[in-house]
Amino acid sequence: MMADRTLPRLSVAMVLLLISVTIFAVTAIATGETAQFSLQGVTGLLQRMVALGLVAIGQTFVILVASIDLSVAAVISGTAVLASWLMGGDPAMIVPAVALCLGFALAVGLVNGALVAFAGINPLIATLGTGLILQGVLSASYGSLGGAVAPVFQQLAYGSLFGIPWSVLALFGLALTMGGLLNRSVLGARIFAVGGNPDGARLAGIRTGRVILTAHVICSLFAGLAGLYLAARVQSGTPWLGRDGIYDLESIAVTVIGGTLLAGGKGGVAGTLAGVFLFASLDASFNMLGIDAFLKQVLRGFVIIAAVAVHAVRGRGHVA
C-alpha cells in the first residue's frame, strides 16, 4: 500500500512546483511580460520566497512535532527592530547585533518550548500568548528603539553572486541543510518520532520535552533569520513588520499545503518550500494580471483551501 515512504512526500512538492511554474509561465506569456523569464525576473520571483520561506522552514519543524508557533510574526518584528536599533548604521556593530538578535530569538524559542513541552499549555495558546506579549512590548518601546541597519548589512538582501541574490542562495542552502537535518540526523529522526507517536517516543527513551523544545528553538531562530533578512531589506525594522506580513498564519498555511500533517510526524522541508513557491508565483502572477488587492485576497483564501483539500480529501481518518 505505502510501498515507498519518500515518494508521496516528494510528489506533493513536485506537483506544487509544476503547478506554480505553469501558473507563472502562462500568465507571463498571456500578459506579454516575457521579460519576467530573464534572470532578473526569475531571481525577483525567487526573492519573494525568502522571508516567508525562512519562517516556514522553522514552522515545519514545530508542526512536525505536532506543535504550532503563532509567535513568529512577533519574533520577526522583534529581531528586525533590535537589529536596526543595535546596529544604528554602524558596520562594526553587525556581528554583535546579529548575535544578540539570534539570542533574542533563541530565548523566545526556549520560552515557547518550555510552555508547550513542560508546562503542558496548548501550543496555540502558549505561542499566541508569547506573541501578544512580545508585540506589546515592541510597540510600546519602539519609540526608543529607532535606528537603521548598517549599509553593508543590506548587502544580505540586495547583494548577489553571479546574478543570484545572496538571500536566495541562503534560503536554498538553509533549506537543503534543514532538509538534510530532518532526514539524515538523529535530531530529525527524533522529531518524526515525537510527532508521530509521543507516547511511543517517550517509551523508546526519547526525551520528548527536549525535542519539542529544540523544534521551537529552531522555529524561533528561523523567524529571527527572517527578521534579520527583512531588516536588511527594509533598512529599519518596525514592530508591525511581521504582523503586516501575516507571517504567522501564512507560514502555517504553506507548511500544510506542502503536505506536512498538522497532527505531526509526517512532512518535510521540500513540500513547505514548494508551498512558498506557489504563494510567490501567485503573487507575481496576480501582479502581472493587475488583479486588485481585494480580489487577490479572495483568490488566496480559496487557493489555500483547495491546495490542502487536494491531498487531504483522500485521507480516511477524521479531521477537526
Binding site: G44, S141, S144, V234, N287
Partner: protein, 377 residues
C-alpha cells in the same frame, strides 16, 4: 520564572518607551516651516489645488523626454484604509481623464508589506514596460534602496510618504503632519479656556505621518495651558473608539474637546457623548463626509483639517510633464493643505457620497463621479 522575567522586562521597556516616544517626532524647525506654509499663497492654476505648489523651486526634466503615449507604472503601498481607497479612485480617474496620452497604466498593490513593495518595484523595473514609475511608499526607510535603484533606470515620482534620497525626480506631498496638527490644535485652543481638558484619539503609535500631527497639536495645547487628559489609540476601530470615550466619561472625567489624528471614527466618538446624554465637545475631525454631515446636523463646534486626497491626482500630472520634458516643481512638490471650517463646510458636503468619502478629493470634475467613489447618482 520566565514569566516573571518577561513581566519585569515589560515594565522596564515601557518606562523607556514613555520617555522617548514624544521627542522623536518633535522637530521645531519643521513645525515652524509647515506653520509658514499653511499661510502661503500657492502658485499654479486657480481652483485646482492638485496642480498648485508652494514655493518656487523647479527641476529640469529634459533628459527624460520621451515621445508618444506613455506606459505609467504605479507601485502602491496598498489600499488598506478609506483614505487610500479614495486616493486610488482619484488616481485612476485622473489617468482616465488624460485619455490617449497614456498607453497603459500598470498598478501593483503591495498590500501594506514593505517586503512585497520592494519586490514589486524590482519586478516592474525588470519587466521593462514602464516609461515612468510612480511610488507611494509603505515605509520611508524601507523603500529607499529600491526607489534609488529604480531611479537610476527611469524617472520616478514619489508621493504621500517620501524616501530618504533625492534620486526621484520629485516628491509630491501636502504641507504635512505638523500642519495638520497646527490647524486642529489652534482651533481647539481658541475655543477652550486655559485648564480645559482635551482627549486625544489616535490610530496607532509610531507612524511618522501620524506622530507629527499629535506632536504639533500637543505643542500648541501645552502653550495654551490646555490639559491633555489622555492620548488613546483606537486602531481606526469605531467600536473601540466609542468604548474608549465611554470609559473616560464613565470615570467622570470632564472632556471639553476631542482631538483626533484622523477623522474616520470621529462620529463614533461623538456617539459616546450622545449615549451618555452629555453635550457634544469641541472636536477636530477630518474631511470625511459623515463627520461633515454630523457637524452640520448637530451644529457642532468643529474643524476638519485635512491631508487632502487630491494629492493622488498630482503624480499623473507630474509623470506626463516629465515625459514631455517640462520642468516640474521639485525636488519637493508641496501641495496646499486647507482645513475645512464652519464657513466652508457646506460646500464640501455631497449627500451622494458614502460616509467615509474624503471631501478634499478634488474629484468632482473627474470621469465617473460620483459612482466611482461609491456615490449614488
Amino acid at each position: 520564572m520566565s514569566m516573571k522575567v518577561m513581566l519585569v522586562a515589560t515594565v522596564a521597556l515601557s518606562g523607556l518607551a514613555g520617555a522617548a516616544m514624544a521627542q522623536d517626532f518633535n522637530d521645531p524647525a519643521e513645525f515652524a516651516k509647515q506653520r509658514e506654509q499653511l499661510s502661503m499663497t500657492p502658485q499654479g492654476p486657480e481652483g485646482a489645488p492638485w496642480a498648485q505648489h508652494l514655493g518656487d523651486s523647479m527641476v529640469d526634466t529634459a533628459k527624460w523626454k520621451k515621445d508618444g503615449p506613455a506606459t505609467i507604472c504605479f507601485s502602491n503601498a496598498g489600499i488598506f484604509n478609506p483614505w487610500r481607497v479614495v486616493g486610488m479612485h482619484n488616481f485612476q480617474a485622473e489617468a482616465e481623464a488624460q485619455g490617449d496620452k497614456i498607453k497603459e497604466l500598470i498598478v501593483v498593490d503591495a498590500e501594506g508589506k514593505d517586503e512585497k513593495q520592494i519586490a514589486d518595484i524590482e519586478a516592474l523595473v525588470a519587466g521593462g514596460k514602464c516609461d515612468v514609475l510612480i511610488v507611494s511608499p509603505n515605509t520611508t526607510a524601507a523603500l529607499t534602496p529600491a526607489v534609488e535603484a529604480a531611479a537610476a533606470k527611469l524617472p520616478v515620482v514619489v508621493f504621500d510618504r517620501g524616501v530618504n534620497t533625492t534620486a526621484p525626480v520629485t516628491y509630491i506631498h501636502p504641507v504635512g503632519g505638523y500642519g495638520f496638527g497646527i490647524s486642529s490644535g489652534e482651533f481647539i485652543a481658541s475655543k477652550l479656556e486655559k485648564g480645559a481638558n482635551v482627549l486625544a484619539l489616535r490610530i496607532v503609535p509610531g507612524v511618522d505621518v501620524l506622530e507629527t500631527r499629535y506632536s504639533a497639536a500637543k505643542t500648541i495645547f501645552d502653550e495654551a495651558g490646555i490639559n491633555v487628559v489622555g492620548s488613546e489609540f483606537t486602531g481606526s476601530d469605531r467600536a473601540k473608539t466609542k468604548a474608549v470615550v465611554e470609559d473616560y466619561l464613565n470615570r467622570g472625567v470632564q472632556i471639553d474637546a476631542i482631538w483626533m489624528d484622523a477623522g474616520d471614527t470621529a462620529t463614533a466618538a461623538l456617539e459616546a457623548f450622545e449615549d451618555a446624554g452629555l453635550p457634544y465637545p469641541v472636536i477636530s475631525g477630518e474631511d470625511q463626509q459623515d463627520f461633515l454631515r454630523k457637524w452640520r446636523d448637530e451644529n457642532l463646534t468643529a474643524i476638519a483639517p485635512s491631508y487632502p486626497t487630491y494629492q493622488w491626482r498630482t503624480p499623473i500630472l507630474a509623470a506626463l510633464d516629465i515625459l514631455a520634458g517640462k520642468p516640474v516643481p521639485g525636488p519637493e512638490w508641496v501641495l496646499p493643505q486647507p482645513a475645512i471650517t464652519a464657513e466652508t463646510r457646506d460646500g464640501y458636503i455631497d449627500e451622494k457620497l458614502p460616509p467615509l468619502h474624503y471631501s478634499l478629493c478634488g474629484c468632482q470634475n473627474l470621469p465617473g463621479y460620483p459612482a466611482r467613489w461609491g456615490g449614488s447618482e
